[in-house]
């Protein structure tokens, strides 16, 4: 194996990320090449430093305070709904009856109001269409559109400035 190939893989080798066969090839090269050996030494100097770094402890009783906060949130959480979707949990008989009555009532009221439904359906359609236009606004822009540069900048920011 040549020096440039070894140097390319030295990072992974030092981190134990190479498979046995590849690691053996690197070791064979390191046994005869002083330059790559020194490169590895320099490399290990920095990784050893980082591995031995003492890191600060979290505040005392952190685990207990997280537990206390969790219990507090659980106590103050809104009660779970009684009605769940079929197949997930059995619901009390009262809740099932109440749900059936609500559905029947809804159907009845819907049937009564059905005559004037034209305008509502039309406006709903328009609303959906507006949502669709908004959703697709950025995704369907031509390649040279200036807004695409804005999107590219966001991507760049996410890649380079955030973790």
């Amino acid at each position: 194996m040549k020096c440039n190939k070894v140097k390319y893989k030295l990072n992974r080798y030092a981190d134990g990320e190479l498979d046995t066969a590849q690691a053996r090839k690197i070791e064979e090269h390191l046994a005869i090449c002083l330059e790559c050996g020194e490169e590895l030494q320099r490399y290990r100097a920095i990784t050893d430093l980082l591995d031995g770094l003492e890191n600060p402890d979290p505040p005392e009783s952190f685990a207990r305070s997280v537990r206390a906060e969790a219990e507090n949130q659980l106590q103050n959480a809104p009660k779970k709904r009684l009605i769940t979707f079929p197949g997930r949990r059995l619901t009390p008989v009262f809740a099932r009856v109440a749900a059936s009555v609500a559905v029947l009532l809804g159907l009845g009221i819907g049937a009564l109001l059905g005559h004037g439904a034209h305008a509502t359906v039309e406006s709903t359609y328009v609303a959906y269409e507006e949502d669709y236009i908004l959703d697709s606004y950025f995704s369907n822009l031509p390649v040279n559109e200036i807004s695409n540069n804005y999107l590219a900048l966001i991507d760049y920011g996410e890649t380079n400035n955030e973790f």
Partner: protein
């Protein structure tokens, strides 16, 4: 017998708060330090670490151990840190104030502390993604594949981030240690 993280998580999902506290105990230092390295503020790091634990508890009931718990947890923590970062970019550097009481420490410990402080300061000058990769590698001893999962990138990208981070650190620390 030491129960696995995944098992503790399942128990926490069933309301076992002792299991949850055990899980927090296991990951508190890592969570705190990862958040601290990202946001360079100890109080904020503690808050966000707590938020990550509360969030996983909230999802614990539906938790499926398809991946290692550690990668799942650090992914959640990373997401929380990103959300915070987007709202308010952190001040560039943490303030490492020396503690008066530290002056009474033995010389070798003082030297070590001073050395660690220099290294930490150098780490904080790195770009956020390099800092994150470095922290997960050297603090959490994660493999490239695990880091890639947490950071939502390829193992090649992790390799590249670590190479650049270590190279920069080496240059920054030259002559200082």
């Amino acid at each position: 017998m030491r129960e696995s993280d995944e098992w503790l998580m399942k128990k926490a999902g069933k309301g076992d708060m002792d299991a949850f506290e055990e899980l927090v105990g296991r990951y508190q230092k890592g969570a705190f330090n990862v958040a601290f390295k990202m946001l360079s503020d100890e109080h904020l790091a503690a808050d966000l670490a707590q938020e990550a634990f509360l969030r996983i508890l909230d999802k614990a009931e539906k938790y499926q151990p398809t991946a290692k718990f550690s990668t799942y947890f650090y992914s959640v923590l990373r997401r929380i840190c990103i959300d915070h970062y987007r709202k308010k970019k952190p001040d560039s550097r943490p303030d490492f104030q020396s503690n008066e009481a530290e002056n009474d420490l033995p010389a070798d410990i003082l030297i070590r502390k001073e050395r660690d402080k220099t290294i930490h300061e150098a780490i904080f000058t790195l770009p956020a993604r390099q800092r994150m990769a470095l922290t997960l590698k050297h603090m959490q001893q994660m493999s490239y594949a695990e880091i890639a999962e947490v950071m939502d990138c390829s193992t090649g990208a992790v390799d590249s981030l670590l190479i650049r981070a270590r190279k920069k650190l080496k240059n920054k620390l030259k002559g200082k240690l």
